[in-house]
């Protein structure tokens, strides 16, 4: 599909949606949001780009094949469960690292955030792989599995 309006709109919408997805990922700690929904919003942005500019541009944007992104996400999520062992706590216990930024501002970094980033990547990779499988001809799929 080639539509000037869609392409012009996508140039504004897709980056905004990506930013929003990161916001959702970040805020998902204690408020509605999180890796899963953030990943879905990010995937919508990528899908929009795919519709406007074609699958090839999506591959350039993603850099890595979707399945590789999903696999890395699964590994990151699984590894986030393990630091608890070093602290002598049970599997998947959340650990927080509170960075003091001065002026009373504290940046809490935690293993649940790492887990959420893993989920975020898994959702992006998984759903993009699904969309790619539906959108593209089998010939292009070969590149997908070549990563």
């Amino acid at each position: 599909m080639s539509s000037l309006i869609l392409r012009a709109g996508t140039r504004i919408l897709a980056p905004t949606m990506l930013l929003f997805s990161v916001f959702l990922l970040w805020r998902g700690h204690n408020l509605p949001g999180g890796g899963f929904i953030g990943g879905l919003v990010a995937t919508s942005a990528i899908a929009l780009q795919g519709i406007a500019f074609g699958p090839a541009s999506v591959r350039r944007t993603l850099v890595f094949p979707p399945a590789t992104i999903a696999g890395a996400g699964v590994l990151i999520a699984a590894l986030s469960a393990l630091p608890a062992a070093l602290a002598g706590l049970p599997f998947f216990t959340g650990l927080w690292l509170k960075l003091n930024l001065g002026d009373g501002a504290v940046l809490p970094l935690s293993t649940p955030l790492v887990f959420d980033i893993g989920v975020y990547l898994t959702v992006i990779g998984g759903v993009c792989a699904l969309i790619a499988a539906l959108e593209e001809e089998p010939a292009l799929e070969d590149q997908d599995t070549g990563g």
Partner: protein, 500 residues
């Protein structure tokens, strides 16, 4: 604490294997090795977990350090640990066999990552101490199995997979409904907490309805009468390594769930639930074995035998005596090894002769006599010949039935055993004894099958012989698992002890 981490690693290892094999999709050799390594590490970890459980008693893991019943609890008793080891053995055997079977096309269809996700779901189901979590692990397992079923992409496979998916979704729906009802009645989904709350539920009728719904859901996954139709429609279509894992493990997860539900959770009305289970057991045995008698394709015959064997396992549960449960646990272990092996052997036989269809093959005894020996061991163990593993399993179950005077179920078990011999003899006579219809040269010698296929078959056959000849230690473990199952109070104490 350390033991809890050991249980966690039973889940972490297959997740890491799935992730790593996904990343290695572009490097075939590396992916194969990673996959194999993952399956053997899982075997080592699960054996270590079993040893710890046998030494120190139940292992309870409150993940995320959230106390039960609020967090996600994993509770590993002897049965759970034994099942995990058997799952890991089957996984390792079938992935080793797969090295010889998986071509580039199958590899590209994500055979390796999906296999590890399947093992993850199976192990999770055996370890979890929470009803909703059990549902999640069932889903993990099913989604992977949907993918594995269509690896290869032939028309027959897609046909089988569609039936498999549709009927399993019905079971999933029933499972969810039962979960919702149970949550409404007891206000909890933690196994131990449900077990504690069940005696205080005033609406016993609705509770029994929920229990029956759960029985139907697990029964469909376990392929018991009359909910088994999806199994023979699907199991003869996938790759041999896939169908061997399915045949060995998947239905047994349903049996495991039945055992868990009707020893720990719902023992409030055994007059209804356990009588129903006993009827189901008898009918499952007989219909399964009769169905097998009508088939002429190797994997179809074996699939129908899965159904009849499930009947034996449910029978021990339905009797609800210590001896009955010992029989069920022993049968589970024996059956998974024997059945996975028979599917693998059928795969090699088809490779050497060109088909799974008995009418079109033959001559294997002349061309590959050792395959005959390898087939003889699991086949006659399945039929219950002494001194193989199946003999002890059947002996314990029949004795358990006679002990409490259930004559008809004992008779059904014996008749089913007899008819099993008929089917095994049929495979023997057709595939091994009679000459190959296309001439003597059409049956190839055993040397033409890859060694990686013969190794797991020999190892599993050796396991069958060992269980048969040295049954005592296996019996002791089964007895311990059975006694734990009959003592829900200590399960509840182990899980909720800290929370009270």
């Amino acid at each position: 604490m350390m033991a809890g981490w050991l249980a966690a690693f039973v889940l972490v290892v297959p997740i890491l294997s799935a992730g790593a094999t996904t990343l290695a999709q572009g490097a075939p050799r590396l992916q194969g090795w990673l996959s194999l390594l993952g399956s053997y590490v899982l075997l080592v970890v699960s054996v270590a977990l079993l040893l710890v459980v046998l030494r120190d008693g139940m292992v309870v893991l409150q993940s995320g350090n959230w106390a039960a019943p609020f967090g996600i609890t994993f509770a590993v008793d002897s049965l759970g640990a034994v099942m995990t080891v058997i799952a890991a053995i089957t996984g390792a055997a079938c992935l080793t066999f797969g090295l010889g079977e998986i071509g580039e096309a199958e590899r590209r269809a994500w055979f390796h990552p999906l296999s590890h996700v399947l093992l993850l779901g199976v192990c999770g189901a055996f370890l979890t101490g929470d009803l909703f979590n059990l549902y999640v692990w069932f889903e993990v397992m099913l989604i992977a199995s949907f993918g594995l079923m269509t690896v290869g992409g032939t028309k027959a496979q897609i046909d089988g997979a569609v039936k498999y998916v549709a009927l399993n979704l019905v079971a999933t729906l029933m499972f969810l409904l039962a979960v919702a009802l149970i949550y409404g009645l007891t206000g909890t989904l933690n196994f131990a907490d449900i077990a504690r709350s069940v005696p205080t539920v005033s609406n016993v009728g609705l509770l029994t309805a929920a229990a029956t719904l759960l029985m139907a859901a697990f029964g469909m996954k376990a392929a018991v009468f009359p909910l088994f139709f999806w199994l023979p429609a699907a199991y003869h279509t996938p790759l041999v390594s896939v169908s061997a894992v399915f045949a060995g493990l998947l239905t047994k997860v349903g049996v495991y769930a039945l055992i868990r539900a009707f020893t720990l959770l719902f023992t409030h009305d055994p007059g209804w639930t356990h009588t129903l289970l006993l009827w189901i057991a008898g009918l499952t045995m007989v219909t399964g074995v009769l169905g097998a008698a009508a088939q002429t394709e190797m994997r179809r015959i074996l699939s129908w035998h899965i159904i009849s064997q499930i009947g034996y396992m449910v029978m021990g549960l339905a009797l609800a005596t210590p001896l009955g449960l010992i029989g069920s646990v022993f049968y589970l272990v024996h059956h998974i090894i024997v059945k996975a092996n028979l599917f693998l052997i059928a795969g090699v036989a088809a490779r050497l002769t060109g088909s799974m269809e008995l009418k079109r093959i033959g001559g294997l005894y002349r061309s590959a006599p050792w395959l005959g020996v390898l087939f003889f061991i699991p086949a006659f163990s399945l039929a219950g010949f002494p001194p193989l593993s199946g003999f002890w399993a059947k002996l314990v179950l029949v004795r358990a039935a006679l002990e409490i005077g259930s004559w008809w179920i004992a008779a059904a078990a014996l008749v089913t055993g007899l008819l099993t011999i008929y089917s095994m003899t049929k495979i023997w006579a057709e595939a091994f004894w009679k000459p190959h219809p296309a001439g003597e040269a059409a049956a190839r010698p055993l040397g033409e099958a890859p060694t990686v296929m013969l190794l797991p078959i020999s190892a599993l056959a050796a396991g069958t012989v060992v269980i048969g000849l040295f049954a005592q230690p296996f019996y002791v473990v089964a007895e311990r698992a059975a006694l734990e199952l009959l003592d829900p109070a200590s399960y509840i104490a182990a899980v909720l002890g800290g929370a009270k």
